[in-house]
């Protein structure tokens, strides 16, 4: 991953490209969801609640008739009539004391009551999107306002406004992991205890492609044909089935390009379900393209966890116990992926990279009058790592120790892997002390004081921070991952997958794996993702939880080898030998015995050359140490990242170019949360104050981070034959801690919550001045 790795370039259509998908994407020939159109299509527009919590007294849509081209208006009555009342939920494990999650209904259009600003009140269908928009504005809704609760702590307090009658106290679920008694004991006997509460703020994924859908009723089977951004067709079809009570095979989900996902596109949204009602009733395709404002209001949010970490240390600064109290704000309903990921992932990595004998985690889910929270790049992993890496720094500050030294004393030693944690998970392999030592040396950790003095001379505050993290990649919802691979008469290889890239470069990396196995150039290999004709029979996971290279990517290798074996049997006849006497190399089967040869293409003209490979994979455990140095202008509170270094263990790397790109993107999404991104609702009115890019602070070019240095310290995973560890999210996971640790160090404070906007940083400096 470091500087000497040059881009792997391929020759496609006479151009040098670093990825096979690039040619269509840079020429404007990509096909995203809003690029699909159907003859005779109608357009949907959603009327959304402009209040946080209210009873719907009446909806009057008489006036929409004034608008030419309006075809229909759908309300909660239609949702009720359709029976589309409950979205899928993947929370399957039992909670505290065996409790089951109370999952509230979420009708596809609000029935009787709205519960957050942006909740769907009505859907207008018209001949054009402008007409649908005009008509929406003419609908008159009478509301009876109810008190709203925005803050999750307030939502759980006695007397709080109640969102759902069937969920008293707005508390649908509580879970625990580890052993509370042993942690309490460790804390009581500790030489030192550090306690820290951090707000891992609510943010939104903001993929650049707004949500969109084109939905058609399929009269041949009573199902639907859907084009919409997805992270994997199977998971999407399963959720459609769950919402509508139709069989999964009634849904033909056909997609090509997805403009970013980051977890937000793993959820099926009620808009699509509402559109199905209209598509069936009107027997015409319905198209909807979200505005960005709607995206802010109605795309699932991420993070939103308030975490208290209590760390017990003995007199040698060894960690003896860690208690995590975790409050997760899920918004007005439970999203399919939110509760499960925000509890399971942190439980799996509750001790971070440290050897801690006593662990206990307590998770409380709260409902608030806000948009739903779901998986967002890391989904609980960045949050737990952030809380742990912050409390460790806070402990070092209190003990006046070097944070690097405190970590060194507590890392799980390399020879103790596979390491079974006190919450029952097994970290596969890592060399944390080695990885961290390498990072400290490369970052010149010990030379920091001189750099700080140089910054001080310029009137700047400098800080350094490190974060060492490990995380589990997703094991998947489906029992296995399949890849179908076939060869045509031209010798072109096609591989089918049901995982869906949203920018992760599957078309290139899968082709590289197959190219390696078959010994043919990547340009001869075409990857087709989510082909609707294959999806109904292929088993496989969506792209989420950094799992795709570990799963589907590895199966590309397995399937390619299976293809060679199948080819040997078929070739044996032609070569006039036994299959065991056939060898394969670079697209050609041959036999020493008969001195004959046959190419893949020749064989494919005579025989069907098509196999399906499969594999089942547990989680891998990518890990890394990131070190950031920041420089703050105290006059304005503006922060510059003076340096950012990462040393990562992603196991075997298929494409360094792609891994570097993922790491850049993930680190910058992390720094986006650290320095600016924040979904803010007004605490009283429940209005969203950050519903545009004019108020939601997205990272921009050159802002904060101008370059980063990346190095590797790999240990090979044995989860799959290639040694891969999934790494799409680990940059997010490591960067929150590294950056906030550096900022706390620069500001000389124990903790300051994100987002560290210039205004917040300046205020912190003023407060610190006032104290000193």
């Amino acid at each position: 991953m470091d500087q000497h790795h040059h881009s792997q370039l391929f020759e496609v259509g006479g151009a040098q490209v670093s990825r096979l998908e690039d040619v269509r994407l840079i020429t404007g020939n990509g096909k995203y969801s809003s690029d699909w159109n159907a003859p005779d299509q109608l357009h949907a527009c959603f009327l959304r609640s402009d209040r946080a919590h209210a009873r719907i007294v009446s909806i009057n849509y008489e006036k929409v008739g004034q608008i030419k081209g309006v075809v229909g208006v759908y309300t909660g009555d239609d949702a009720k009539a359709s029976g589309y009342l409950r979205s899928a939920n993947f929370l399957t494990f039992a909670g505290k004391g065996g409790m089951k999650a109370k999952v509230p209904d979420r009708p596809c259009i609000a029935i009787g009551k709205v519960r957050f600003v942006g909740d769907i009140v009505a859907m207008v269908i018209a001949e054009s999107h402008l007409a649908a928009q005009d008509a929406c504005e003419l609908i008159e809704v009478t509301y009876d306002d109810l008190p709203a609760v925005i803050d999750p702590v307030a939502a759980l307090a006695p007397g709080a406004p109640q969102l759902h009658d069937e969920i008293p106290g707005n508390a649908p679920f509580e879970a625990e992991t580890g052993d509370e008694a042993s942690v309490t004991d460790a804390i009581s006997k500790a030489a030192h205890v550090t306690k820290l509460t951090v707000d891992c703020t609510r943010v939104t994924a903001s993929p650049m492609e707004p949500r969109a859908a084109l939905i058609e009723f399929d009269a041949t089977n009573g199902g639907y044909i859907v084009h919409t951004p997805s992270q994997g067709v199977n998971m999407t079809r399963r959720q459609f089935a769950g919402y509508t009570n139709l069989a999964e095979d009634k849904f033909r989900v056909d997609i090509q390009d997805v403009g970013g996902g980051f977890g937000q596109r793993s959820t099926v949204y009620p808009e699509y379900i509402s559109m199905m009602i209209a598509a069936k009733a009107l027997q015409r395709p319905i198209k909807w393209v979200s505005t960005r404002t709607e995206s802010f209001l109605s795309d699932t949010h991420g993070r939103g966890n308030i975490i208290t970490a209590t760390l017990a240390l003995d007199k040698n600064a060894q960690f003896t116990g860690l208690r995590i109290d975790w409050l997760t704000d899920m918004g007005a309903f439970l999203s399919p992926t939110g509760p499960v990921s925000h509890i399971r992932n942190p439980s799996t990595c509750l001790n971070g990279v440290y050897k801690i004998p006593a662990l206990y985690g307590h998770f409380t889910v709260a409902l608030t009058n806000t948009m739903l929270v779901a998986a967002y790049r890391g989904a609980g992993r960045p949050d737990i790592a952030y809380a742990i890496e912050r409390v460790v720094d806070a402990a070092a500050l209190e003990l006046k120790m070097d944070p690097a030294d405190l970590r060194r004393r507590n890392y799980i030693p390399a020879n103790e892997f596979p390491y079974k944690t006190a919450t029952g998970s097994t970290y596969e392999c890592a060399d944390l002390p080695g990885l961290s030592a390498k990072a400290l040396a490369l970052a010149d950790w010990s030379g920091f004081e001189a750099r700080k003095a140089a910054s001080a001379k310029k009137g700047k505050l400098r800080g350094i921070g490190m974060s060492t993290v490990i995380e589990n990649t997703g094991a998947g919802m489906y029992p296995k991952d399949e890849i179908e691979i076939s060869v045509d008469a031209k010798g072109l290889v096609t591989a089918h997958s049901v995982a869906q890239s949203q920018g992760q470069s599957h078309e290139t990396t899968f082709a590289m794996v197959i190219s390696n196995a078959l010994g043919i150039p990547v340009e001869r290999i075409k990857i087709r993702q989510g082909d609707p004709d294959k999806a109904t029979t292929m088993i496989g996971n969506h792209s989420g939880g950094s799992r795709t290279m570990v799963g589907a990517g590895t199966v590309c290798h397995i399937a390619a080898n299976k293809l060679i074996d199948a080819g040997k049997s078929l070739a044996a006849e032609d070569l006039g030998v036994e299959p065991s006497q056939v060898t394969y190399s670079k697209g050609e089967f041959s036999s020493k015995q008969s001195k004959k040869k046959i190419t893949l293409a020749q064989l494919a003209t005579k025989k069907t050359l098509c196999v399906r490979g499969e594999g089942t994979f547990l989680s891998t455990f990518p890990n890394g140490c990131h070190i950031a140095e920041v420089e703050i202008d105290p006059e304005t509170g503006v922060t510059d990242i003076a340096s950012y270094l990462s040393v990562d263990d992603c196991g075997h790397v298929v494409s360094h170019t792609v891994v570097e790109g993922q790491m850049h993107g993930a680190v910058v999404q992390g720094l986006g949360q650290v320095f600016g991104e924040h979904i803010v609702y007004d605490k009283q009115s429940g209005q969203m104050l950050t519903a545009s890019f004019g108020d939601y602070i997205m990272p921009r070019a050159g802002q904060h981070l101008k370059s980063m240095r990346m190095e590797e310290h790999a240990t090979m995973s044995k989860v799959g034959p290639l040694g891969i560890k999934g790494m799409g999210e680990s940059g997010c996971t490591a960067s929150l801690g590294a950056l906030v640790n550096a900022m706390s160090n620069a500001l000389g404070v124990k903790h300051v919550d994100m987002p560290l906007t210039p205004a917040k940083v300046w205020k912190t400096i003023q407060q610190t001045k006032a104290i000193n």
Partner: protein
């Protein structure tokens, strides 16, 4: 967007007549504020009168110590104009800080002044330099033109034709952009002439305003230390989730200090 009728005016007179004829019409120049406002359905004009093709609204020229810029001049044209760079380089610099390249390629100086967004850049230059806003009906001094948030002295049927900037001896602009929108959280434009120093602050308050204490202090001594001991009164400044009024007061001061340093070549 609501529906409206689009009309293209060929001359100043035609535009004026159209404005007079339609009470709910709006002028469309670059459209960089108006079109997003329409898209958000926050305005419902009956007509949009496109004034982008009117020759009388174009042109940059300097004569007798006065820089005249046509209202329809785009930000990019001001930013790159050799005439502006020579006469008031701070104004060319300011124009290059507005929005982003695509916005600068369309947005106009007249549009910016007529809109008088409290966080826009141009009003600070007009006020600090003491510009004259020439309309199709009269001439308005900048001191009288800006009347608080999105409000100006422009009357019904009145449109800006050109802006006349007296060329100061020296001028400088420094801006702290809002981290999301890029508008000024605080911008300070300093202009120094034989008559004294004027400092106009944009972005921090509900409208552009002169910081008279700084003017007095800098009139005595043009260096950053001169404003060290004084502060912008934060009472009436803007406060929102992006920053307190104290922060904005601080930014106004820091931007002023930086503008002073630039102005005095330090």
């Amino acid at each position: 967007m609501h529906t409206f009728s689009y009309v293209k005016a060929k001359s100043l007179k035609e535009a004026g007549d159209m404005l007079a004829a339609h009470a709910d019409a709006k002028l469309l120049a670059g459209g960089m504020t108006l079109i997003p406002t329409l898209k958000a359905r926050l305005a419902q004009p009956s007509h949009l009168i496109d004034i982008s093709g009117i020759a009388e609204l174009t042109g940059i020229d300097v004569k007798d110590g006065k820089l005249t810029i046509g209202a329809g001049t785009k930000h990019v044209e001001v930013a790159r104009s050799a005439v502006v760079k020579k006469a008031i380089p701070a104004l060319a610099y300011l124009a290059n800080q507005i929005g982003d390249p695509q916005v600068r390629n369309r947005g106009t100086i007249g549009g910016s002044l007529a809109n008088n967004d409290p966080a826009a850049d141009y009003p600070s230059a007009a006020l600090a330099v003491g510009a004259t806003i020439v309309t199709n009906k009269r001439e308005i001094a900048a001191d009288d033109f800006f009347q608080g948030m999105f409000s100006t002295a422009l009357g019904t049927g009145e449109m800006i034709v050109k802006i006349v900037f007296p060329v100061p001896a020296k001028a400088a602009y420094e801006k702290f952009p809002h981290p999301a929108s890029g508008y000024a959280m605080a911008g300070s434009f300093i202009s120094q002439t034989a008559k004294g120093v004027r400092v106009a602050i944009t972005g921090a308050g509900p409208g552009v305003f002169r910081w008279k204490e700084a003017e007095a202090a800098l009139g005595k001594k043009m260096n950053a230390a001169a404003v060290e001991g004084i502060n912008v009164d934060s009472t009436d400044l803007n406060e929102d989730m992006h920053g307190t009024r104290e922060y904005r007061a601080n930014l106004a001061k820091v931007m002023t200090k930086r503008a002073v340093a630039k102005l005095s070549g330090k």
